[in-house]
């Protein structure tokens, strides 16, 4: 019934969008091929920092750009892997289907403090937190570039742009005309096929993609994934100033879920199915030089089907009687809808002063199954407005200032401001000093969770029930609906420029971040029937001071090869406060981020269509996820990836064959490995692997 209701909602969305598309398609042909605006119109550069196009030297915060060449040279098979390149970023896997990407702080697999956008669509999952990377209806080949804002950016993108923002920008539809087929085959059961067709019909450019991804996950674990994705993207040029863009996609498939509970019988190996789909429509009008107005609507639906039966558990045996918990029917299912409407206006206010401002409405609806959120549906309504200003005071000074005001139905009203000044001591070099505040709203799981197992128990004599036992309630996390927002205050002193023109591009960032009221769990008195006293509630309790320096560089050599280099030195301190006085009792050197990490990517094109990429990644010791003790750290990881590719033509079709050898230095432990090993005989280890890729572009 529930899904039927949801399907109706989707049809409604479709019905709303269809007339808009139809109107646009019918839009007047009464236009000349070219407007005079084309002679004086603006061409954006980067957008992610302030929602305004600006050269990186003018941006108030550090922005890393992963471009198409880096994506191809890295040999990455999945999108999360790319972020190993970015200074300060941590990439970990809970299992083969659950990746996590975080920055400066990694407490668990959900990485709730990161915002991820795809072409302006926020794909952060409000139900649980984190990103459902494996069912995103986008392939790595769809991506043109990724702009990564390293630092809080709630002033531009709102709550959850807390530690950083990943802005994935897909390739424009006109760039991928024709048909292409790609397949990857390799170790760990990797069997992937991607199909793409792009074309044009009058003023409509479109691209249709489909993907079939199979892999067996980590070598010794029950964590396979089988994913099918499909998407259609298009852009209709209404006239010389108006564009209507649309995007719709679906991703779904089963995953193996391995027992990860301290009571094995509660969580047997099983299969779950994930589904997500989205519809996005954006109208944008260019008003003049640097001026535009855009209205965007999107809907994202995410569904997790996970029902299973626990195994019988014998709790005690005495005098020939066994106290047995009967198998329990468990529903960890979950769905979430996000409806988002936003207006943005970019305007030149005066000479040297421009703004991006706007506002919007959002409704997040979250439902959790009987054992996750007690089958309740929670709504979180958002009203927000934002303004970012860029004031080119006078060369060399540039000021960026902005704020976002958000009113959530669950957590109230907050303002996230940012102000920064850039001193441009040459056209290609600047020093920036920026301060900002940002927030993260609790996920609906943290807000209203009722994560528990419950069912009957009986007393057995042999296989015969002799008397009913007490009802069992194995409680874990509970959301009290009293939690507030997490807060960060961040200061950044940075340099960006080309100290050796055409050779070296360099960005240095020194930062100091105070994170307060971070959500964590606190144990509470067990309720009657609790099996192992792990009952806890979410509270705003954690405080961190994170300080450090990051360096990013791109070198260009005489032979046109390139070296990308990233380094981060992070001091991550957890602050223990007296719960009564609020005073700092102790500062603990936390391992929630590696003290040192660096990445190298060398990219070279040879003659005859050959190209090569060499990626090396180092991550210092880091505390593993979900481990309560700071001494449970993962040893340093050194990872080397190699890729060799060749492009050539066969009967005028372009063919690319690539061989990628990954992690050739030997196996290492993933982030989710160090919970009590007595419970988990099988570790979460990454082994060396190889895959071959063949891509054919047909005329």
């Amino acid at each position: 019934m529930r899904d039927t209701k949801n399907n109706k909602k989707h049809r409604c969305v479709g019905l709303v969008m269809l007339p808009l598309v139809a109107t646009a398609l019918h839009a007047s042909e009464m236009e000349p091929p070219l407007s005079e605006q084309a002679f004086w119109g603006e061409l954006p550069v980067v957008m992610s920092a302030t929602r305004m196009s600006q050269p990186v030297v003018d941006a108030p915060v550090a922005v890393s750009v992963i471009d198409r060449r880096m994506i191809e040279a890295s040999g990455a098979r999945e999108i999360p892997e790319l972020f190993r390149l970015v200074p300060g970023f941590m990439v970990g896997y809970h299992d083969g289907a659950t990746a996590s990407v975080s920055y400066h702080l990694s407490e668990d697999r959900y990485a709730r403090q990161m915002q991820v956008m795809i072409d302006g669509r926020a794909v952060y999952v409000h139900a649980i937190g984190g990103i459902a990377w494996s069912t995103l209806p986008i392939t790595i080949d769809d991506i043109e570039r990724i702009e990564v804002v390293r630092g809080p950016n709630s002033a531009s993108y709102g709550a959850n742009s807390f530690l950083g923002v990943i802005n994935i920008i897909t390739r424009h539809v006109v760039l991928d005309r024709g048909t292409a087929v790609k397949t990857n085959l390799g170790d760990e059961g990797v069997r992937e096929v991607f199909l793409r067709h792009g074309g044009t019909n009058g003023k409509l450019d479109y691209r249709v993609t489909a993907g079939f991804v199979d892999d067996d996950g980590f070598q010794e674990r029950f964590d396979y994934k089988r994913t099918q994705t499909a998407s259609v993207r298009g852009e209709y040029t209404i006239n010389n100033t108006d564009i209507l863009a649309f995007d719709a996609g679906v991703g779904t498939g089963p995953r193996g879920v391995e027992n990860r509970s301290t009571l094995n019988a509660l969580s047997p190996n099983r299969e779950k199915t994930e589904l997500q789909h989205h519809q996005q429509l954006k109208w944008e009008r260019t008003l003049g030089v640097g001026e535009s107005v855009a209205v965007q609507f999107y809907h994202i639906y995410l569904r997790n089907f996970e029902t299973f039966q626990t195994l019988p558990i014998t709790l005690a045996s005495s005098g020939g009687l066994d106290w047995v918990v009967e198998p329990m029917a468990v529903d960890f299912g979950m769905y979430t809808h996000r409806y988002d409407l936003e207006l943005q206006h970019n305007v030149n206010i005066a000479e040297g002063l421009r703004a991006a401002w706007g506002g919007g409405l959002r409704d997040d609806q979250v439902w959790g199954g009987a054992n996750l959120m007690a089958e309740t549906e929670v709504h979180n309504h958002l009203k927000h407005a934002f303004m970012n200003l860029e004031w080119d005071v006078s060369n060399p000074w540039l000021v960026n200032a902005g704020a976002m005001i958000e009113d959530y139905s669950t957590t109230g009203t907050n303002i996230s401001p940012r102000a920064g000044v850039n001193y441009r001591f040459s056209p290609v070099q600047s020093v920036r000093l920026t301060g900002s505040k940002a927030i993260r709203t609790p996920s609906m799981y943290e807000y209203a969770a009722k994560y528990a197992f419950f069912g009957p128990s009986n007393y057995y004599s042999g296989s015969t029930v002799v008397a009913p036992g007490p009802a069992i309630y194995q409680g874990y996390d509970v959301g009290t609906r009293q939690v507030g927002v997490e807060k960060i205050t961040s200061f950044e002193l940075g340099y960006h420029g080309m100290p050796i023109r055409g050779r070296v591009e360099l960005d240095v960032k020194i930062f100091h971040d105070d994170l307060d009221d971070l959500l964590g769990t606190r144990g509470v008195s067990p309720v009657p029937g609790d099996l192992d006293n792990r009952h806890s509630v979410f509270v705003n309790r954690n405080v961190y001071f994170i300080r450090g320096v990051e360096l990013e560089s791109k070198l260009t050599f005489d032979d046109n090869s390139n070296l990308y280099f990233g380094y981060a030195r992070i001091k991550n301190d957890r602050i223990l406060k007296n719960p009564v006085t609020g005073n700092i009792d102790a500062i603990v050197d936390s391992r929630r981020a590696p003290k040192h990490s660096f990445s190298l990517l060398y990219m070279k094109d040879f003659s005859q269509g050959y190209s090569a990429g060499i990626g090396y990644y180092f991550t210092d010791k880091v505390q593993s996820w979900d481990s309560g003790s700071a001494d449970r750290v993962r040893d340093p990881v050194r990872r080397l990836d190699l890729k060799l590719a060749r492009k050539f033509e066969v009967l005028s079709d372009e063919v690319e064959i690539a061989l990628a050898a990954r992690n050739v230095l030997g196996k290492y432990e993933e982030m989710e490995v160090l919970r009590p090993k007595t419970n988990y005989a099988v570790l979460n280890e990454v082994y060396p692997s190889v895959y071959v890729s063949v891509k054919v572009k047909l005329d």
Partner: protein, 300 residues
């Protein structure tokens, strides 16, 4: 937009109407150019209106109308404009031709279009990079109209021309790679295809990857990463429009043609890009002076 009335001396008896497509900064700059160059005494009174403000306007009192921009021209289509001096301006040539083909123009009029003569771009490339041997020309459907003219100019200059039609290509990246690899500089002229910013990004990316400069038609394109730009500002177009008006019905130093290309233009050099590409270019001022001297030497 309200009416801006300017009173000039009463030696002449012209009442001028200036219609702009919009009341936006571009047209305000254009208007400043017009006002700065109108000969005092040439008009009794001038009214300024935007295209969406003329539906009910009685045109009878006006002896001359300057129609600036496509929307302005479209708004006047079908109105009785006989016996009036008309100047269409601020129009790309392709827009003008579209208006003409759709019967939206009066038979008697003058035109000042905003497309630069292609020869200027070739002269600019040769002046900025004298060692140039091959010029690439990336065009779309609209800018393909210049292909033949560019070919002739390049042939006369004994250069090699590499043309590529981006619109019909299924492999844009490959096409760009080939053009940039074989050219010393690559030229783009206005085309709706390039108004798509992501296509522009791909072109700019190819320019950077191959260290081959782009020569373009707008300041914003230059700021985005092209090396050389040649264009007329709205103020320059306004100035020339006023000069055309000044010559209507009276003897002038040079007769005005039915169709005129921009006489005034600006050259800009993105020195950052030039340095990144290892190109030692002359300054924008030097290049502009050179091009102006060439223009002066051309037969009138």
């Amino acid at each position: 937009m309200g009416i801006l009335a300017l009173l000039f001396s009463a030696t002449a008896h012209a009442r001028l109407l200036l219609i702009t497509s919009q009341d936006s900064p571009i047209y305000q700059e254009f208007q400043r150019g017009v006002l700065g160059a109108l000969v005092k005494g040439g008009v009794d009174e001038m009214d300024v209106r935007s295209a969406d403000d003329i539906a009910l306007l009685d045109l009878t009192p006006y002896s001359a109308i300057i129609i600036a921009g496509f929307d302005a021209a479209k708004a006047l289509a079908g109105r009785d404009l006989l016996n009036k001096s008309l100047i269409y301006t601020m129009l790309p040539l392709s827009s003008y031709e579209w208006l003409h083909d759709n019967g939206m123009l009066m038979p008697q009029h003058k035109l000042l279009y905003i497309d630069q003569p292609p020869r200027r771009y070739v002269q600019l490339v040769r002046s900025a990079m004298p060692e140039t041997a091959a010029i690439g020309y990336l065009h779309g459907e609209t800018s393909a109209a210049y292909s033949d003219e560019i070919k002739k100019i390049v042939d006369v200059a004994k250069l090699h021309l590499i043309q590529a039609d981006l619109v019909t290509s299924n492999k844009l990246s490959n096409l760009l790679k080939n053009v940039f690899a074989d050219s010393d500089a690559v030229l783009l002229l206005p085309d709706p295809f390039f108004y798509n910013r992501r296509v522009v990004q791909e072109v700019l990316l190819a320019s950077f990857r191959h260290k081959r400069p782009l020569v373009v038609y707008s300041e914003s394109f230059l700021k985005a990463g092209a090396m050389l730009a040649l264009f007329s500002t709205p103020e320059q177009i306004g100035r020339q429009t006023a000069e055309m008006f000044n010559c209507l019905g009276r003897p002038c130093y040079s007769a005005i043609a039915q169709r005129s290309a921009p006489k005034y233009f600006s050259v800009m050099v993105n020195e950052v890009v030039a340095r990144q590409m290892g190109i030692k270019s002359k300054s924008a001022e030097e290049l502009q002076r050179y091009l102006e001297s060439v223009e002066t030497a051309l037969p009138r």
